[in-house]
Amino acid sequence: MTRRDAMIRRLQAIVPDEAILRRPEELKPYECDGLTAYRRVPWLVVLPEHESQLVRILKLCHDEKVPLVVRGAGTGLSGGALPLEEGLLVSLARFDRILELDPLGRTARVQPGVRNLAISGAARPHGLYYAPDPSSQIACSIGGNVAENAGGIHCLKYGLTVHNVIALRCLTMEGETVILGSAGLDGPGYDLLALVHGSEGLLAVVTEITVRLLPLPGCTRTLLAAFSTVAAAADAVAAVIEAGLIPAAMEMMDRPAIVAVEDYLQAGYPREAAALVICELDGPEAQVEAEAAAARRQFERHGAFRVQVAQDEAERQRFWQGRKSAFPAIGRITPDYYCMDGTIPRHRVAEVLAGIARLADKYGLRVANVFHAGDGNLHPLIMYDAAAGELEKVERLGREILELCVQVGGTITGEHGVGVEKLDSMCRQFGEGELRLFHAVKQAFDPRGLLNPGKAVPTLARCAELGGMHVHQGRLPHPELVRF
C-alpha cells in the first residue's frame, strides 16, 4: 500500500469518503490559487465540515509528519495555497456559517469559509457592516483574509483585517485549540492575534473569527479629479491628507489604465488625463459635505483640469465602475498580465511611477498602474504574452519594481502576501537576523514545520544563493538578479 493510500484509509476514519478528493479530475481545480503561474496538482484534498474533524486531521498529520496547506477560497495572489508535494490540501469551504451576529455588541462570529461580502450582507439589516473590502470580496473567505491580513480600498480610514478582528479561535499543528484576543477590544498576554494576521497559514489554522462591525456611514461623497501629470496628482493626494482629511478611499490610475478602461466600458474618464484620482469621503452628512468641498479645493489648487462630484448614486457607481474594471480592462488588451503589489511612502509616488516606466522600457514590456494612492499601495500590471515565453522576463521586471519599492523606504507586499511568489524579494527586504527570527517564530508555533512549509519566509540558504544575505532595508546597490 502506498503512503497515499494509507493516508486515505486513515482519513476515512475521520471524514466521510466523499470529503476526500483523490481522482485527478477532482484534484485539478485545486492545483493553484489566484496566481496561476504556479501550479501543482495536490496529493490529496480533504474537505472537513466540523472542527472536531479538523483537529483529528491535524493530529494525524502531526503524528505522521505529513505537511498540510489550508485553503480558503483560493483567491490568494501569491501562491499561498499552492499544494505541497506529498502533503494534504485541507479546504475550509464547508466552514461557511455565520455563527452569531450581535447587533448590540456590534460583532459577528463567523467560520473561516464565510465570504467577506456575506458578513456585510448579514449585518446590513442592523445598520452595520464589515469594513475591510478586498476587491475579491465576493469570492474570498474571511479565513483567507485573516491569513493574508487582506486590505482594500477602505484601508486608509478603516484599516486592514487585523484592525477589524477582535478574536480568533485557532488550532495549532498539534491540534490544540487556542483563543486569541477576547470579546473585549484586546486580549491578555502577547498580541498573538496580530501575529496570526498575515501569517499566511504558517502558524495556525483559523477556525472561528470574531469581527468588529461598524455603523453604516450616514453619507458618502465621491469625487473624480483629472490631472495632466502624475506628479500633480500625487501632490494633490498628499495635500488632501495634509489638509487633515482622511478619505474613506483615495485611488489613482495612470494613462495606460485610463485608456484601457475607457476602451472597455466608457466610464466617462477623460482620456487625455495623465492621472485620475477617485476620492471618497464618508460619515455624517454635514461633515462629508464640508470635507468634499475641502478635497475639491485641494485638487483644484494642485492643477486638476477637471473635478467632478458624483451627483447621485448612479454617477458614483460609474466613477467606481471604471476603477473596479481596470483589471479585466487590461486583461482585454493583453494575452496575460501580472499584478504586482508593493507599498511606498506616498510622497514618492511620482518618482516611483517614473522609475517603473523606465524599467518597463528596459524590458520592452508595458505596465499600467491602478492603485491605492491613499496608502501608497501600488499595483503595477505588467502586460505580456506567456505563450511567447515572456514570463521569466516579467518576473525579473517584477522583482526590480519591488526592489525599487524597498529602496524608497517601502515594502515588497502591501496586501497580497509573500506566498511562493516573493520569497526571493524577501531576501532583499530582510537581513539574516530578521529571517532567522521569523523561522524561530514559526518554530514556536509549529516545531515540526508541517503547516504550509516553504511559503512566506525564505530559507537562509535561498537568500545566500541570491547574494542577498547582507542586504538590509534597501541599502543595496544593484547586483544582477539571478534565479536558480
Binding site: L104, C155, A183, L185, G189, A194, G244, T413, G414
Partner: protein, 350 residues
C-alpha cells in the same frame, strides 16, 4: 541621542552572563505589571524624532523619547497620536508601546498596536533587527512589530518605533447626561451603533459622558440632537485617562481593569464601576478575591488586569490556558532565549 551601540553592548553582556535586565523608559513607577529584579537598562537618553513627514501620517522616534515631546512635535503640524496613551510626566514612547495601554479614543480610532507600523528592536541576544516599516500597508514577513505592543519589554527593547498619526480634529467638545446606572450600557450600545462623530463614551455614575470631534457645524447639530449638557472643557477625558477622577483616587480598594464584551452586563462582583470605551473597558474598585475576578472575566470571554493594589509577586494579568501559555513561552524563547529581558514582568515564567 542615538545610544544603540551602548544599549546593544549592555544587552549582549547580560546575554553572555545570563543576568537579567530591567528596561526602564521614563524611569517611572513600576506599579503596572509584576516586579522585575535586574540591572537597569535605561532608555531615557536614547531619544529624538528620527523622521517625520506629516503628509505621510507617519512618525519614527527613538524609544526613550518622552511622549510629551512627541506630542508637541505632532501638535505643531496639527496631528496627534490616535490611541491617546496615558502618560504622566516622564513616560516615553517605547514605554507606552511596550505597556500597550490606550486612552478613551481607543474604540473610535484604534489601540496602540493598531498604530504601530514598524520597530527597530534589540532582542535578548543583543541583535538589532527591524520589522514592519514606515508605510501603512505591509504584509511582508510575520508582524513582529505589532507583537511588541503590550509585551512589556519581555520580547525586545524598542529602539525605534514608526507610528501612524492622525490629524487633530478641528473641534472637540464634551457633553454629559444624567442616567441611572441600569441604563448606561443600553444607552452606550445605542450610541455606538450610530454613525456619530464620537471620540469618547464613558459612564461615571451618575453621568454618561460623550466626546464629539469634528467640524463645528457637525458637532453642533449632533449635540442638539443628543440633548445633553455641554461641559466647559474636555478635562474629563484627561482626568479619566490619567486616572485622576474621584473614582480612581478615593478609597483603598484595588483597581481592576476588565476588557469586556461592550454590551454585556457587569459580573456579579462587589465594588464600584466606571465604564469606558463604550463599555468595552471597565474599571472596578473592589475587595473581591483575584480568582473570582479572573474567573468572571474568563466566563464573559473578556479578561482582567489587577491594575493597582497588588503585591510585587501577585498575578497581575489574566492567567492563560496552558496551550496558550505554551505559545507564549515558545515565543519568548525565540526572542530572548536566556530570559534576560524583564523576566517575570508579565507572567511568572515568562
Amino acid at each position: 541621542m542615538d545610544l544603540t551601540e551602548a544599549l546593544q553592548e549592555q544587552v549582549s553582556t547580560s546575554c553572555r552572563r545570563g543576568t537579567s535586565l530591567r528596561i526602564v523608559g521614563g524611569g517611572s513607577k513600576a506599579f503596572y505589571g509584576r516586579a522585575v529584579e535586574g540591572e537597569v537598562l535605561a532608555l531615557g537618553e536614547h531619544r529624538g524624532v528620527v523622521a517625520y513627514q506629516p503628509s505621510e501620517l507617519v512618525v519614527t522616534v527613538r524609544g526613550g523619547t518622552p511622549l510629551a515631546e512627541l506630542e508637541q512635535v505632532l501638535a505643531a503640524e496639527g496631528q496627534m497620536l490616535g490611541f491617546e496613551p496615558p502618560h504622566f510626566c516622564p513616560a516615553t514612547v517605547g514605554g507606552a508601546v511596550a505597556a500597550g495601554l490606550s486612552g478613551p479614543r481607543r474604540p473610535f480610532a484604534g489601540a496602540v498596536r493598531d498604530f504601530v507600523l514598524g520597530v527597530r528592536l534589540l532582542t535578548g541576544r543583543g541583535e538589532v533587527l527591524s520589522f514592519g516599516g514606515q508605510v501603512m500597508k505591509n504584509v511582508a514577513g510575520f508582524d513582529l512589530a505589532r507583537v511588541l505592543a503590550g509585551s512589556l519589554g519581555t520580547l525586545g527593547v524598542i529602539l525605534e518605533v514608526s507610528l501612524k498619526v492622525l490629524p487633530k480634529p478641528p473641534l472637540e467638545v464634551t457633553l454629559r447626561r444624567r442616567l441611572p446606572p441600569q441604563q448606561a450600557l443600553g444607552a452606550m450600545a445605542e450610541l455606538m451603533g450610530r454613525d456619530l462623530p464620537l471620540s469618547g463614551l464613558a459612564y461615571d455614575e451618575p453621568f454618561l459622558y460623550l466626546r464629539l470631534s469634528g467640524l463645528p457645524e457637525v458637532i453642533e447639530e449632533t449635540a442638539a440632537d443628543l440633548g445633553a449638557e455641554y461641559l466647559p472643557d474636555n478635562r474629563f477625558w484627561l482626568d479619566l485617562r490619567e486616572q485622576r477622577l474621584a473614582f480612581f483616587t478615593a478609597g483603598e480598594e484595588s483597581l481592576w481593569r476588565l476588557a469586556w464584551p461592550p454590551a454585556a452586563p457587569n459580573p456579579d462582583l462587589p465594588g464600584r464601576w466606571l465604564l469606558d470605551w463604550g463599555g468595552a473597558q471597565r474599571w472596578l474598585r473592589t475587595t473581591a478575591e483575584p480568582d473570582a475576578i479572573f474567573q468572571a472575566a474568563a466566563q464573559a470571554g473578556g479578561h482582567a488586569t489587577w491594575f493597582r493594589g497588588h503585591g510585587p509577586a501577585d498575578p497581575v494579568f489574566q492567567p492563560l490556558p496552558p496551550q496558550l501559555f505554551k505559545l507564549h513561552k515558545a515565543l519568548k524563547e525565540a526572542f530572548d532565549p536566556k530570559r534576560i529581558l524583564n523576566p517575570g514582568r508579565m507572567y511568572e515564567d515568562l
